[in-house]
Amino acid sequence: MAFKKKWVVDLPPELWYELENMKNGRTREELLRDLLKAVDKDTWKLVGENRALKEQVAVLNEKVRALEAELAKLRERLARTKVSR
């Protein structure tokens, strides 16, 4: 009999439920093995790429919002300077 070891992952509850629902009578180890078997190299690469892109978009959008706020402040300062002229 092969030795077994605990592999502990902390997951948000919704992901935990998703995994549990996918078991269909399988153990968690079996589920994980099946999932890994089902995923081919291209899909895995694309998923990684998409996640990175999503993160990049979020960062860029955050930067855009920050710049928009700065721009609004500058416009206000400009208006004040013009008024005081």
Partner: protein, 219 residues
């Protein structure tokens, strides 16, 4: 207050999920996940499990387009911010120059006002001098007239003592027995034991009234 030794609070609610696996497989799994955390690895796995390549490619293109759009928007905003910053700096400089100009103009204005005030007094002195000279020439004797007579001839009425005091205070400098006004070209001789109305106002220029002056011939 936090209890000593209490577990760290997590940012979002998470649950530990225990998966009992063969030791060799655990090693293999940890190697395969590379730099990803176990959680990220599971998330990737779940994303990949129910996705097909075509959908993922469409999604990737959409993300790329969105990233490009955001990047362009960022660049545009950055350029606009730079331009506005430059404009603000330029306006600041203009404001400084204008403030300096304004300060100088205020200074000049104050100077002009001062000069204007002085010439107004000079003009008043000139008018008053002319009036007094006329009165003395007409009603005075040997270029002199009593203060009471002068004030009446100048058209003053009511409290003449008050008017006399005001006139003396405004235009004359007290030099003891006499009071002198350079501006009006007059002097006032005090009369011992009498008030201002009895004092005698005299022209400084005594030659005009034919006073006898001893002239010594040059030898």
């Amino acid at each position: 207050m936090a209890r000593r030794g209490a577990p760290k609070r997590r940012q979002e609610p998470v649950e530990d999920i225990h998966i009992l696996m063969q030791v060799s497989y655990v090693r293999k799994l940890d190697e395969r996940r590379g730099a990803l955390s176990r959680r990220e690895y599971i998330e990737h796995l779940l994303d990949a499990a129910d996705a097909n390549v075509a959908d993922l490619m469409v999604e990737r293109d959409e993300y790329k387009a969105e990233a490009e759009k955001s990047r362009k928007a960022y660049e545009k905003l950055e350029a606009r911010t730079l331009k506005l910053e430059q404009e603000v700096e330029k306006l600041k400089l203009i404001r400084q120059v204008l403030e300096e100009e304004n300060r100088q103009l205020k200074q000049e204005l104050a100077e002009l006002r001062k000069q204007l005030k002085m010439s107004a007094r000079e003009r008043r002195a000139e008018d008053l001098k002319q009036e007094i000279y006329e009165v003395i020439n007409r009603y005075g004797k040997n270029g002199s007239i009593k203060m009471l007579e002068l004030l009446k001839r100048l058209g003053y009425s009511g409290d003449l003592v008050k008017h006399a005091k005001e006139l003396l205070e405004e235009w004359f400098i007290d030099e003891g027995k006499i009071l002198v006004s350079e501006e009006l070209g007059l002097k006032v001789e005090k009369v011992y034991g009498f008030g201002e109305l009895a004092w005698v106002v005299k022209l400084n220029d005594s030659f005009r009234f034919g006073e006898l002056v001893e002239v010594k011939a040059d030898v």
